[in-house]
């Protein structure tokens, strides 16, 4: 039967005899571009993981929070012509409030009426639809636009890779934000409270952590991190209401990093960024879309708890 003679898959093979010189240039360019896009994935992965670590909820709306924050900035800057020193903080505050209030008024209620985590996850799916719908409704997403770059986009050569000042600014800001967050999470009292909530919420409450406030703070900060990611990347991409799908790469990064490790998420972000660029340069741009999903599948099949994840624990009765 004809059905069983399966025809070949689309051709994804490497071009013939790519010479070594070219391969080396590609390699350097791939790493440089990968580190830049990877820093954005790392930020988003960090935003996802910090929530998962403390609430056990994978926030499926993270990509849409990222997208909506980008549009808030676009609206204030391009349509309202506000000065940039107002736009940046305003965007971050909006993202913080939106996420903190979602946690406080929606998720707390969901958690009250249903014990199961699945319901919380589905509620975040609902949020992702609402945000996407709202942005589409405003019509700003109808024509793809870019946020104007605040840093010159002249290219400079590092080794044999060409990068722009903007790229360097993205990378630098992302690393700074991540470092600041690590410091907060690991060395301040607030951070210690957050870690305590992640380990054992009841015990944390017993020693005086305000659970509700702590969760609001975490979700709010996660929103801020996503908003920063959006501000960084939006001069480089065409913004549409669907740009939140970039979050898949962040999920892939989080999984590579073990899903509950902050440094893991960051490393995962850079790994995914570099792999993505390599696939684009060496294999085919058609395969780029597929790469994160294959990465997720392969990593999870081989190591169900992620590359950097701890031992797998089975929930008892």
């Amino acid at each position: 039967m004809a059905v069983f003679a399966l025809p070949p898959f689309p051709d994804l093979s490497i071009g013939p005899d790519m010479d070594l010189q070219l391969a080396l240039i590609f390699l350097q360019q791939g790493i440089a571009s990968g580190l830049v896009s990877g820093s954005v994935y790392a930020l988003l992965a960090l935003a996802i993981v910090v929530i998962f670590k403390t609430s056990d909820v994978p926030n499926f709306a993270q990509g849409e929070v990222f997208m909506a924050a980008g549009y808030v900035a676009l609206y204030l800057f391009v349509f309202q012509k506000m000065p940039i020193w107002v736009v940046l903080p305003a965007t971050l505050v909006v993202a913080f409030l939106a996420m903190a209030l979602f946690r406080r008024f929606v998720l707390d209620q969901v958690a009250k009426s249903a014990k199961d985590l699945v319901y919380l996850v589905i509620a975040t799916l609902g949020l992702s639809y609402v945000l996407k719908g709202l942005v589409r409704r405003t019509g700003f997403g109808d024509t793809p636009r870019s946020f104007p770059a605040l840093v010159p986009t002249d290219s400079i050569m590092i080794g044999q890779a060409s990068v722009t000042m903007l790229d360097l600014a993205i990378f630098g800001t992302a690393v700074t934000v991540m470092a600041a967050f690590f410091w907060m999470f690991n060395y301040t009292k607030t951070g210690r409270a957050m870690r305590a909530v992640g380990m054992n919420p009841k015990a944390a409450q017993l020693v005086g952590v305000d659970l509700r406030r702590c969760h609001m703070l975490i979700w709010g900060l996660s929103g801020v991190i996503s908003a920063i990611a959006a501000l960084l990347i939006s001069p480089k991409i065409l913004m549409t209401a669907d740009m939140g799908s970039i979050v898949m790469l962040a999920f892939a990064a989080a999984i590579v990093g073990g899903f509950s490790s902050l440094p893991g998420a960051v490393v995962g972000g850079f790994v995914i960024g570099i792999v993505e660029n390599m696939v684009g340069l060496f294999i085919s741009s058609r395969a780029i879309v597929l790469a994160p999903f294959l990465a997720i599948l392969i990593v999870l099949v081989l190591r169900p708890q992620g590359l950097f994840g701890g031992k797998l624990t089975i929930k008892k009765v």
């Binding site: 059905v3 209620q109 919380l120 609902g126 992702s128 639809y129 945000l131 999903f293 999870l300």
Partner: protein, 327 residues
């Protein structure tokens, strides 16, 4: 994942008295007589709703009964659609053979995914199945020589011996029949030893293991069955549709089915069926206002999770009970 509320048959039996029975009979009469007195469009919607009922039954098996968060339902549905359409085109046999072929292919892929997913739980399982679903959609859209890629595939008309199905009205009795068969099958599975082992796994894998249930087998089988039912729904789709495009087989569709199951009430077969019909109708109405569609969709999901996590019917039942007891 711990416990979505158990579906017990007692409230169903209680509800089947007096006015409820009349309502049920009326619903049956309307369902059967539908093609006689309505337009082709209404029948088309009815066909589509019946397909979604079957999709919900499939998702119910894996999420509702076994508690495994699968997010690849659209992929299995798509495999069923393509496999049955291609089989129907390749060989000259009655269409049910092609449908069974579609269900078998989807079921086989489901078994493989179930086996691969054995070591994963909760979030990891959700993400892995999600990734598989997206990867499958990519395959549908790029495997040009088989699926005709982004141009979509034309589905040739289904034939039952001498009868060739060319319209929605002609297809309706068959779609209805297959849907009822699938409902029967799901009830039978749910009441069997296998179904009980599924629910035991859902409640606690450790306790199930201690009772001598082969947890690994239960998980793999539930994935396979769920995928096969979704694949069969794909075959039903081919009964009245003439065209399939990979765009309609993405995450959106998985979420649509998940929403239906959740709106109906996770963990009950009646909920899955009712949810498919109620939410199917809602989303059909929303199609009239596309600019609000996503917002309303999301709002429904959020509101249900906030105030009626056990589903629409449990929610209404609770309100009625409260009213009766004068609270």
């Amino acid at each position: 994942m711990s416990s979505p509320p158990l579906a017990s048959s007692a409230p169903v039996r209680r509800a089947l008295s007096g006015p409820a029975l009349i309502g049920l009979v009326a619903a049956v009469v309307v369902t059967v007589a539908l093609p006689v007195f309505t337009s082709g469009y209404v029948v088309y919607i009815a066909n589509l709703l019946l397909v979604f009922v079957v999709l919900c039954l499939g998702l119910h098996i894996v999420i509702g009964e076994t508690g495994q968060f699968s997010m690849a339902h659209a992929a299995f549905y798509g495999i069923g659609i393509y496999a049955s359409a291609l089989a129907n085109r390749a060989v000259d046999l009655p269409y049910p053979v092609a449908m069974l072929f579609g269900a078998l292919v989807a079921g086989a892929v489901g078994l493989v995914i179930g086996a691969l997913a054995l070591r994963m739980r909760d979030i990891y399982l959700a993400l892995a199945t999600f990734a598989f679903g997206e990867a499958m959609q990519w395959v549908f859209a790029n495997w040009d020589s088989v699926t005709n890629g982004p141009n979509g595939l034309r589905i040739s008309p289904a034939r039952f011996g001498p009868i060739e199905i060319l319209s929605d009205k002609q297809a309706y009795p068959f779609v209805l029949f297959f849907c009822l068969v699938m409902i029967g099958l799901t009830v039978a599975i749910s009441r069997s030893r296998l179904g009980r082992s599924f629910r035991a796994v859902r409640e606690s894998e450790v306790a199930a293991m201690a009772m001598g249930i082969d947890v690994r087998r239960a998980r793999i089988v539930s994935f396979g069955l769920s995928a096969a039912i979704a694949g069969f729904a794909g075959g039903m789709f081919g009964l009245f549709q003439t065209f399939i495009h990979p765009d309609s087989l993405g995450f959106q569709t998985t979420i649509l089915v998940l929403t239906m199951v959740v709106v109906g009430g996770l963990g009950s077969i009646a909920g899955a069926i009712g949810g498919a019909i109620v939410f199917g109708l809602i989303s059909e109405v929303l199609r009239q206002a596309p600019q609000y569609q996503e917002i309303i969709y999301g709002a429904i999901l959020i509101l249900f999770m906030m105030y009626a996590p056990r589903g629409l019917f449990a929610f209404i039942g609770d309100r009625i009970r409260e009213a009766r007891h004068g609270r």
